[in-house]
């Protein structure tokens, strides 16, 4: 799509909408080679809203949050955060591709937890959590440590400050990763199948930490997950994706208990065993 067309879309959009939604995907497409992963996604997330993305693998759910974290560039369409285009910059009335400076400014509002934790192996647990607050937010070492210790206590790892990631279990690593993202105080947190790499007995502790977090903060959350019970407990809205498109969405009770589309029915039946 041409930039001119994107501009029109952006201008056509209702102003009220722009002010309300924290994150907005407008006709966003993503292609990897010949493979069209997202086919014109339209999705808005309100401040504080918890949205679970479910769907079979390859349905595009991870790509949706990776584009918001600026790890993947949309092929076309516009993503806005706080009303500002993420991947584009307004120069006068024109939208031009964003530069690193623009991306860094908007990234302040976004945080992410990964499937494979991606902790920094050469740093202690405490430093994993204080590094970005010190170097990115410019907090003093004392402030950053206080914030980090507080958060690590909350996720139950206050006694592991001086340990290295390799000394922790998968569940503990993922809890550190959550603490590391939360201390940056983003407006929206992205969770990318955060329990998929864990042994089954460690899944519960991580989900509990996220549930607690969802209850006590006003951060918006986008959760890509295969845990249907968890989605029901945490999410305000469940979005079912199929083949790069939203097939069905609504309240967890509607979506998970009264699925309308055949595809969602057959998808959910696989989780009922």
């Amino acid at each position: 799509m041409s930039l001119g067309l994107m501009e029109k879309q952006l201008n056509n959009q209702q102003v009220a909408d722009q002010e309300q939604a924290l994150v907005k995907y407008e006709n966003v497409k993503k292609q990897f080679g010949d493979n069209e992963v997202l086919k014109g996604l339209n999705l808005a997330i309100q401040p504080g809203e918890k949205v679970a993305l479910i769907g079979p693998s390859g349905s595009g759910k991870t790509t949706i949050i990776r584009m918001l974290m600026t790890l993947e560039k949309p092929t076309s369409g516009v993503i806005t955060i706080g009303g500002e285009p993420l991947w584009h910059k307004k120069v006068g009335e024109k939208l031009v591709p964003a530069d690193e400076k623009h991306l860094r400014r908007l990234r302040t509002d976004i945080g992410m937890v990964f499937q494979h934790f991606n902790l920094f192996p050469h740093m202690t647990i405490l430093r994993n959590v204080t590094e970005a607050p010190i170097h990115v937010l410019g907090l003093s070492k004392e402030e950053a440590t206080e914030r980090a210790v507080d958060m690590l206590n909350k996720v139950g790892l206050g006694d592991k400050l001086d340990a290295y990631p390799e000394q922790l279990s998968g569940g503990q690593k993922q809890r550190v990763a959550i603490a590391r993202a939360v201390v940056m105080r983003p407006k929206v947190m992205l969770f990318d199948e955060v329990t998929s790499a864990l042994d089954p007995e460690l899944v519960g502790e991580v989900l509990q930490v996220i549930k607690d977090l969802a209850e006590e903060t006003d951060m918006a959350m986008i959760l890509v997950t295969h845990e249907m019970d968890f989605a029901r407990d945490v999410a305000d809205r469940v979005v079912f994706l199929h083949n790069g498109q939203i097939e069905e969405q609504g309240k967890p009770s509607e979506i998970l208990e009264n699925p309308k589309s055949e595809r969602l029915q057959s998808f959910l039946s696989r989780f009922l065993a």
Binding site: M69, L71, R104, R107, P121, H122, A132, V136, P165, A181
Partner: protein, 218 residues
């Protein structure tokens, strides 16, 4: 034994020169290795290309010819180096080219998830490199750097050919003056080079051990 007692004091000044050349060119080689290694991963194509030309030129031609070029041919263009400086420049640029490959491949060996995590934490490009990637890559570089340093030490013997009075040069003079010393002279040379190499071998081994903490995949 008396022969050795006679030879060793005569060779010792050469040892000092060899050590000086070694230290100076290792320092230059490491600096060049980092600059060129990072430049080969630059997001600017021109920077990558220019660096690639340098690396392939210095890896693809003989060190001896490079030494001769810098010492004998560059004066034709008005650039004159002392034998010591010419030696350090040639060795530093040559082994810096090899070292840049060590730096480049070590950086590329760090899993992409580390970069993604540091983007998610909103670090700048330079912060990602300095705080996250390089500290981990350094540990991967150590064995490669150690090998290069030992290779460089052996390479220093070539500087005798551009009139620098290093260990090899001193030995050759003594051997020339008294051919019956041929055997003991080369025994002494062999031992001296090995003695210099030993701390390099053990030093790198120790560094590797110290740095192995927390290297495992997070």
């Amino acid at each position: 034994m008396d022969t050795y007692k006679e030879i060793i004091p005569l060779i010792l000044p050469g040892l000092t020169i060899t050590l000086k050349v070694l230290v100076a060119s290792v320092a230059l080689a490491i600096s060049v290795a980092f600059v060129a290694g990072l430049a080969r991963l630059s997001r600017f194509a021109l920077v990558r290309k220019i660096t690639a030309v340098y690396v392939e030129l210095f890896r693809g031609t003989s060190l001896l010819v490079q030494l001769f070029w810098i010492f004998f041919a560059l004066p034709a263009f008005g650039i004159q180096f002392s034998p010591f400086l010419a030696s350090v420049v040639a060795l530093g640029l040559n082994y810096g080219a090899y070292g840049s490959e060590v730096v480049r491949s070590a950086i590329l060996a760090i899993p992409n998830g580390q970069t993604e995590a540091s983007i998610a934490l909103n670090m700048t490009r330079w912060q990602r490199m300095r705080l996250v990637i390089l500290p981990q890559a350094l540990r991967i570089m150590l064995p490669g750097f150690g090998n290069n340093a030992i290779e460089l030490l052996k390479g220093t013997s070539l500087v005798s050919l551009i009139t620098l009075t290093d260990l090899t040069y001193k030995g050759l003079i003594i051997q020339n003056n008294n051919l019956s010393y041929t055997f003991p002279v080369f025994v002494v040379l062999l031992l001296f080079y090995f003695i210099i190499a030993l701390p390099l071998i053990f030093g790198v081994r120790k560094l590797e051990k110290n740095a192995s903490r927390g290297v495992a995949k997070a």
